[in-house]
Structure formats: structure tokens, C-alpha cells
């Protein structure tokens, strides 16, 4: 039983032992505790309880981050918002407006522009390495390309129709041309119908910077019937593709890291592996798209059609008499059959109509004829 005017409450002694009292109050409690056996008992009890409670210890955990945690971290890293003060935004906006007003705007070439008048596409970080091959692009050129997006990326195409009197040399000239310009042949088709002009259709790819020179050179192969050049700006497409590719690669890297730590359940690990497969597929697809796009930028396409200037040939060698007779007989027979068939076809085609009109007009005409005859009599 506590004395009525006890200067210190027991829970205050507890507070003193727990370090919860202010400095002054703690000093008072310490002084009081030294001389109060009752409070010393309370303090002893509290220490005993604390000591006994410490006997309940939990085992050490080998807790590692599970996939959900790693994914949440990865997601947070990928969408971490920029915390920028409003005045910074205002400053950035003002600077942007000034830049827009100060820098002359560059118009991207539109379809149908004369590409020869425009500068070559852009500086590449790595030069396309030429290969001495005709079919297929130079190895390593498209793959290694990466662009600094400070000027429009343009994929150029041109078409050229020529007529030549020296068709025999066209094929060889094209091969020489491709070797010289480090280009390649995407497709080639030559037709040589009997009794008609031969023609060559080819799809040529030459380095974009060489396009004007290449076109001039090709025109020497014959007379130009028609020419067309165009350019498609693919800057936005390329930038978008690169951004998506970079994001997908980051995601793959993070997922691989998650898989490496693999502390979760088996189903979680399998989920991560499935996700990695999906992302890898996306990366490969986008990689392919990027290579295709890069190839279109680096190599201009020329659709070339060369037609032979046809001269009808005169056959001076006469056929034999028997041959001529045989041909005449065959021709006569064919004409007879043809005539019969033609009459049959005509009858079947026109006959029903003739019969119809005859039936319709016969009686009126006969009546009219008879009246006319009666008047005449």
C-alpha cells in the first residue's frame, strides 16, 4: 500500500526507467528512488518483467525482396515523377518560347520534293561499311546506325524509266554501277518476249548521299522517259521506336535482375520468366523494325525500268513450198472451223432478238402493206 503523500507515482518510476521523463523530473525520480524502498520494489519488478520478456526472441529472418517488391521498385524507377518547383517550369517554358522564336524553323522535305536540292540525310555516328556484294545490304551498316535527332530523317525513293538501244549492256552496267556506289540489288526482272521489246525492271538500293549522283549516272543508260523522286520523313517514327526499344531493354534488365534474386514462390518466378519472354519478343520485333527503318534511311531506293528501243526484224529466209502448202491447208481448215463457229455464235447471239422483233412487227407491217396496196388500187 502506497503512502498517501508519496511524491512519485509508480508509473512515473516506470517512465524514469524507460527514459521517458524530462531531465528535471528524471533527476527527482532518481533521487527519490534511492531512498524509497517501495519504489525500489516497483523498479525491481519492472526490471524483472522486462528481463523475462526478453526471453521471447524471434528467429532470424532470411527475408529477401520478393518479385512483387522488385517489380514495384522497377515501376517506381520507370515512372518517377519529376518534382520541379513551379518557377522552374515557368523558366523552362519561357526559355522554350525564346528558343522557338529565335531559331529559324527547318521545313522537312515533303513527298514530291526534289531530293537533289536538299542536303544529304544526316550525320551518322558510325559510317556504313561498304561491302563488295551485289545482292543484300552491306553487313553491319544498318545494325550499327544510331542517329542524333537534330535534323529530319528522310527515307528517299526514286523511280526512273529509260529506253535504250543498247539493251545488251544494261545488265552489266547496273552491276558496275552498284559496285561503284556501294549499293545493292534488291530485285531484278528481265523479260524478252518474242517479237516485242525486251525490258529490265530492277529495284536498286544506293547510299542516300549518293542518290543524286546515282540518278545522273543511271540516266546515261538510255533516254529518260520519266523520272520521279520523293522523300518520307521518318524522324518521329525513329525516335518513337528508339524510346520504346530503350524502355523494353530496361524492363528486360530489371526483370532479369528480379529473376536472378528469385526469392519468391515458384509461380512468381515462372511469371517473371514469362514476362521476360514477352519483353524479349517485343525487343526483337522492334529491333527488326529499327534495322528496317535504318536501312530505308541509309539506302535510297531506285525503281529502274529500262525498255529496249524495239526495231521490227525482217525475215528474209523464205519457207519451203510444202511448208507453205501445209500452213495454207491448216489455215484454211482453221478458217472453215472458225467460220462455222462464228455463224453458230452469231445465230445464238442475235437469233433470239431477231425472232422477237420479227414476231412483233410481222402483223403490223403486213396490215400496213395491205392498206397501202388497197389505196394504190
Amino acid at each position: 500500500m502506497r503512502q498517501p503523500n508519496h511524491p512519485m507515482e509508480p508509473d512515473e518510476i516506470m517512465g524514469y526507467l524507460d527514459g521517458e521523463l524530462s531531465v528535471d523530473r528524471a533527476a527527482s525520480a532518481a533521487a527519490h528512488l534511492e531512498r524509497c524502498p517501495e519504489c525500489q520494489t516497483v523498479a525491481g519488478d519492472l526490471r524483472t518483467v522486462a528481463h523475462e520478456m526478453l526471453s521471447w526472441q524471434v528467429e532470424e529472418t532470411r527475408l529477401q525482396m520478393n518479385p512483387a517488391l522488385s517489380v514495384a521498385l522497377a515501376e517506381r524507377a520507370s515512372r518517377r515523377p519529376w518534382r520541379v518547383r513551379p518557377w522552374v517550369w515557368a523558366l523552362v517554358g519561357a526559355t522554350a518560347v525564346l528558343l522557338v522564336l529565335a531559331i529559324p524553323r527547318r521545313q522537312p522535305p515533303s513527298v514530291g520534293d526534289d531530293v537533289r536540292a536538299s542536303p544529304p540525310p544526316r550525320e551518322m555516328r558510325s559510317e556504313a561499311k561498304p561491302e563488295e556484294q551485289i545482292f543484300g545490304p552491306p553487313q553491319g551498316a544498318a545494325q550499327s546506325a544510331g542517329y542524333v535527332l537534330d535534323a529530319p530523317l528522310v527515307a528517299r525513293t526514286a523511280s526512273l524509266n529509260l529506253t535504250t538501244s543498247d539493251f545488251e549492256h544494261v545488265r552489266g552496267a547496273i552491276d558496275d554501277f552498284l559496285t561503284r556506289h556501294k549499293g545493292y540489288l534488291a530485285s531484278l526482272n528481265i523479260t524478252a518476249p518474242a517479237g516485242a521489246a525486251r525490258s529490265l525492271t530492277a529495284n536498286l538500293r544506293v547510299p542516300a548521299a549518293d542518290l543524286p549522283a546515282a540518278m545522273s549516272e543511271l540516266k546515261h543508260l538510255g533516254r529518260v522517259d520519266s523520272e520521279q523522286q520523293s522523300g518520307e520523313e521518318v524522324t518521329e517514327q525513329y525516335a518513337d521506336l528508339e524510346a520504346r526499344l530503350a524502355n523494353a531493354r530496361n524492363t528486360e534488365q530489371r526483370l532479369t535482375e528480379i529473376l536472378r534474386q528469385r526469392t519468391g514462390k515458384l509461380s512468381d518466378v515462372l511469371d517473371v520468366e514469362t514476362e521476360i519472354d514477352r519483353v524479349r519478343g517485343q525487343i526483337e520485333k522492334m529491333d527488326g523494325e529499327k534495322k528496317g527503318l535504318t536501312k530505308r534511311i541509309e539506302f535510297s531506293t531506285i525503281d529502274l525500268t529500262v525498255t529496249e528501243a524495239y526495231k521490227a526484224r525482217l525475215d528474209v529466209v523464205p519457207d519451203s513450198t510444202f511448208g507453205r502448202l501445209r500452213n495454207a491447208a491448216v489455215e484454211g481448215y482453221a478458217n472453215m472451223i472458225g467460220g462455222i463457229v462464228a455463224v453458230g455464235l452469231f445465230s445464238m447471239t442475235v437469233g433470239p432478238t431477231v425472232l422477237l422483233w420479227t414476231a412483233l412487227l410481222f402483223f403490223p407491217l403486213r396490215y400496213a402493206w395491205r392498206r397501202w396496196r388497197r389505196r394504190g388500187m
Partner: protein
């Protein structure tokens, strides 16, 4: 040594290393928090992970107004309440706390004695003894006045002491 609060701010700015350090520092005490209150070890680990997950999701709103460990125990306390609600729905049989009711080690009497305490008294006592929280922090977590925390803590300790004496007798 970088403080927890500084690490939290670094993590808020995007530092993954800061999070790794916080995870390493607090995983054991969070696991202990849940392990002492739940029977299932795996569930305790899951909830410890969920505490960090909640921390990641809320990091953009974090402000260093309290100690990080208090902040984490606040999240843990909410998760524990949700877990207990789920347990009550799944297993409506009334009874003591699962972990506290368990009986297979040397701290048996402590757990049995604590199981007999009032729920709030027991929580205050555990937060003080095992999580080493200050009275004010316990008061904030449990939304109680500090004086109430102190008086109930004293009551819980004395109850444990009398049970210990009964055990010894």
C-alpha cells in the same frame, strides 16, 4: 552513418541503394513484429514484404516528421489489423493471438501470460518492449493519449509480474 530519414529522402528522389539499405536495416524488426503476433512464419514474412511494398507506394508522400521505424511500424500496424480482420472472417472462433497461444519454447510463460492481457494493454506492452517505441510513438500508432499509454503499460507490466510470481509459486 546515414540516418533512416536521410535514406528515405534519397529513396524518394529515386535512389535504389537507399531502399536496399532501409530494407536491410528494418527487415528483421518488421519480421519480428509480425512473427510475435501471428502464428504463421511465412505470413509474417509476407506481411513484412507488404510493409515495404506499401512504403514504396507511399514514398512520394513521405515527409520526415517521425522516425522511419515509427513510420514503418505504423504501416505494419495497419497491415496487422487488416490481417486480423481477415482471420476473424476466415476463422471466426474466438481465441488468443495465434503466435501468443503457441507453446513450444522457453518463453512459453511469457506468451501465455501476455495472451491473458487485454488486447490494447498487450499491444502497448509489446510495442514498448519488443519494438522499443517511445510512449508518444505508441500513443500515435494506437491513437491514444500518452498518459493512457503510460498507465496501461504500467498495468500490463504489473499483471505480468503477478503472473510470474504465481508461476514461481
Amino acid at each position: 552513418m546515414v540516418t533512416d530519414e536521410a535514406l528515405m529522402l534519397q529513396f524518394q528522389r529515386g535512389s535504389r541503394d537507399a531502399f536496399d539499405e532501409l530494407f536491410a536495416r528494418h527487415r528483421q524488426e518488421l519480421f519480428g513484429f509480425f512473427r510475435r503476433r501471428l502464428a504463421n512464419r511465412e505470413r509474417a514474412e509476407d506481411l513484412a514484404q507488404e510493409t515495404f511494398l506499401a512504403m514504396i507506394r507511399a514514398i512520394s508522400r513521405y515527409q520526415p516528421r517521425a522516425l522511419v521505424r515509427t513510420y514503418l511500424f505504423g504501416i505494419a500496424m495497419n497491415l496487422l489489423s487488416a490481417e486480423r480482420r481477415r482471420e476473424r472472417i476466415d476463422h471466426p472462433t474466438p481465441g488468443a493471438e495465434p503466435a501468443i497461444g503457441a507453446s513450444h519454447d522457453e518463453a512459453l510463460w511469457v506468451r501465455e501470460a501476455m495472451a491473458k492481457l487485454d488486447d490494447v494493454d498487450r499491444e502497448i506492452l509489446m510495442l514498448r518492449e519488443y519494438e522499443q517505441l517511445a510512449y508518444a510513438e505508441i500513443a500515435e500508432l494506437l491513437r491514444l493519449p500518452v498518459n493512457t499509454v503510460r498507465s496501461r503499460l504500467f498495468r500490463a507490466r504489473m499483471a505480468l509480474k503477478s503472473r510470474l510470481k504465481a508461476e514461481e509459486a
